[in-house]
Symmetry: C2
Subunit: 414 residues, 2 copies
């Protein structure tokens, strides 16, 4: 395969034209063929992955990063099942978003169409390769996949298998292409391929996303950084609050919808802190607290940086706030606009929090962990957008499309 | 007013928080107050405008640009009426885009919310100042308006009047602010105000839009460049085709939805060219034609550049194509993705054209001039997006909003 990203993008654009016209039947057949191929050639995938894992271990990569990289038979089957799930979802392409007959008799329809060519820039886990290829294909988009060099062999094996399956199903193999990882330059070329690439979706750490947002001339959908707060209001049911805080922080610490910061209304601090701090400690969580929290055993002092951090680990920042205004001000200052939750029995407080918090998702009496395409019932998720343009929150198949106005007349002139 | 754009943006963000929570009643009252104030202080506006016009004339500005700049009592009244029209339109903020109760009982709603702070960068006509301020206010967004230095005094007078009216209606004056035009630097600062400005909407010539798209780290909605084609198919009703071509080219030449290029199927060229060329000539249009067109009187030779040009004048490029495939290939090569039209009585040709042309609007048997927010029934239009992200085609009030997911539970954890 050529190393010239522009050439890959040109082939993707060419292939995207037919894909945009492909029927749901044809796309679903390709997805099922991709699923069978990934499972059927699992040995190839696991062999390639073992080489990546070995290289990472030899380079002294941290254990949790090696774990993200590692594929198993079960993980391969899960990727295949993900593709089969996609085949069952409705096709977003062709959906009429709105339509009417204008006063002059013109028929107006706004119809979903694919973007064309989608570039994905992502780190670590090779399953993103298969997920992204599947979601792009179902939404009618050619995919240019730029994974991490650490997963180079895994991704190469997967994409080779996917391309064979797509071609076997009668679509152009060029709807799925891997962008070489031999240098950072290929990321830059992708970011500058305006006119050839329609949208870039970076998925990964804050540094990756920031650099794409800063440098790309291709439109970007920013995903994922989540400094998510749980605010326990004066009127909270404290059992409920405890359960939500624990779930939000500890269900899975490495994900963007995990809670990273706890705010507690001063009126209940005396009662709630002695409950929540030991419970968090028992779950292995280090609490980085303000002065009030420091009065509890095991709490370490929080700096301003702590309140701004997305830990992605068993750590949480914590502060007592005098009232809901202070909670809202704190969130305004530190929020990354991902997910913010309030626990309260007070309708007025809930209503204010929902109205005033500026985030992709605002939750009342529920764990931050629910901000997720699967939980929201979207069936598939390409990422969680934290920007306000185009898509905000979990992005499913419709978010991977644009629209086109179709206007039908019989000789209409102005 | 401070010249520090970041400071203006900070004030806009502060003001946007209250505006986002303002009721429709409060916003409509402000819009009506703005309308009355613009009309009531028309003399101030016209005096300021006369100074801009004089300066432009002294600088030897082309007459049609001076005309764009010039305000009259009628144009002032039209601006005020535009604000009154906005007050009558439904409020997009708070609209529930979708909603459901999830299997676990969580209530999920996706609700329209304002972006926050919108930056407008535009040229020429001072009425854009009032339009943009009104559309932003109705959609709950604070507006940072960076007009052209040629309209400096007109814009300053208008914004002063609008700010007084907004404040008089009980909203913060800082929801409408003028960005100084003393240097190009203020445009750059606006483009780099990521985090303070949520969206930039450039409106103007191709050069302006290109530079904003290239340099901005704030998300951009690209508007407007239209190299719009009319393709007259073999199966076209030629009377209809003639009427559509003339309307699309000559109704108004300086607008982005005017036709700039004519493609004619070879099978009807012998009959249609002798009709369309003289008709265009009679309407004062210069035809820049390919070899086939050059056989007609008065046609000048088209270069490749002609086919790529958005003339915005009484010029049209023209070519004969052997079949619809060639028409589609030509459009694919030269289209700016704005509006493309086919004239045909052949259902299969219409269906192919609609499916395969990649543009914001695709029209069958109708003039390209219909791609317009007013014509589409949107009631207001901030511009016509030619990008695929967020909004494509005419942008009304809903396109000036983002969304937020609101999730209500009663102690839900995963």
């Amino acid at each position: 395969m050529s190393n010239d990203v522009a050439e890959l993008a040109r082939r993707a654009r060419e292939a995207s034209r037919d894909l945009a016209l492909a029927t749901r039947t044809a796309k679903d057949a390709a997805l099922l063929a991709m699923a069978d191929a990934v499972e059927g050639r699992a040995d190839d995938v696991l062999t390639a992955n073992a080489a990546d894992v070995r290289r990472a271990e030899e380079a002294g990569t941290e254990a949790h990063l090696v774990d993200r990289l590692r594929l198993t038979q079960d993980r391969v089957s899960a990727m295949a099942d993900g593709l089969r799930d996609l085949a069952r979802l409705p096709d977003p392409v062709g959906e009429v978003v709105r339509g009417s007959t204008l006063a002059n008799g013109l028929e107006l329809r706004q119809v979903r169409v694919p973007f064309g060519v989608v570039g994905m820039i992502y780190e670590g886990r090779p399953n993103v390769t298969v997920d992204a290829a599947g979601i792009c294909l179902k939404s009618g988009n050619a995919a240019l996949l730029r994974g991490s060099s650490s997963a180079e062999q895994s991704n190469a094996a997967l994409v080779a298998i996917l391309r064979d399956a797509v071609a076997g199903a009668g679509l152009s193999a060029d709807v799925v292409q891997l962008v070489p990882t031999h240098s950072r330059e290929t990321v830059k070329e992708l970011m500058r391929a305006r006119g050839l690439v329609d949208v870039l979706v970076p998925r990964g750490g804050a540094g990756l996303i920031q650099s794409v947002v800063e440098e790309s001339t291709v439109p970007v959908i920013e995903t994922g950084v989540g400094n998510c707060h749980v605010y326990v209001d004066a009127a909270a049911d404290l059992d409920m609050a405890l359960a939500i805080v624990l779930n939000a922080k500890t269900d899975r610490t490495s994900v963007c919808n995990a809670a990273e910061s706890l705010l507690v209304h001063a009126d209940i601090a005396d009662v709630f802190l002695p409950r929540v701090v030991p419970a968090l400690a028992a779950a292995g969580v280090v609490v980085h607290g303000d002065e009030r929290f420091l009065a509890c055993d095991g709490v370490v002092a929080a700096t301003d940086d702590d309140f701004a951090r997305e830990y992605l680990s068993s750590d949480i920042s914590a502060a007592v706030v005098p009232d809901i205004d202070a909670a809202l001000a704190h969130i305004r200052r530190y929020s990354t606009g991902h997910t913010e939750a309030i626990v309260t029995g007070d309708q007025a407080a809930a209503r204010r929090f929902v109205a005033e918090v500026d985030a992709a998702a605002v939750l009342v009496n529920a764990s931050t962990r629910f901000t997720d395409g699967g939980e929201f019932g979207f069936g598939a998720e390409i990422g969680i957008s934290t920007q306000k343009l185009h898509a905000r929150g979990p992005m499913g198949l419709p978010e991977m499309t644009s629209t086109k106005y179709v206007v039908i007349g019989d000789g209409h002139v102005r």
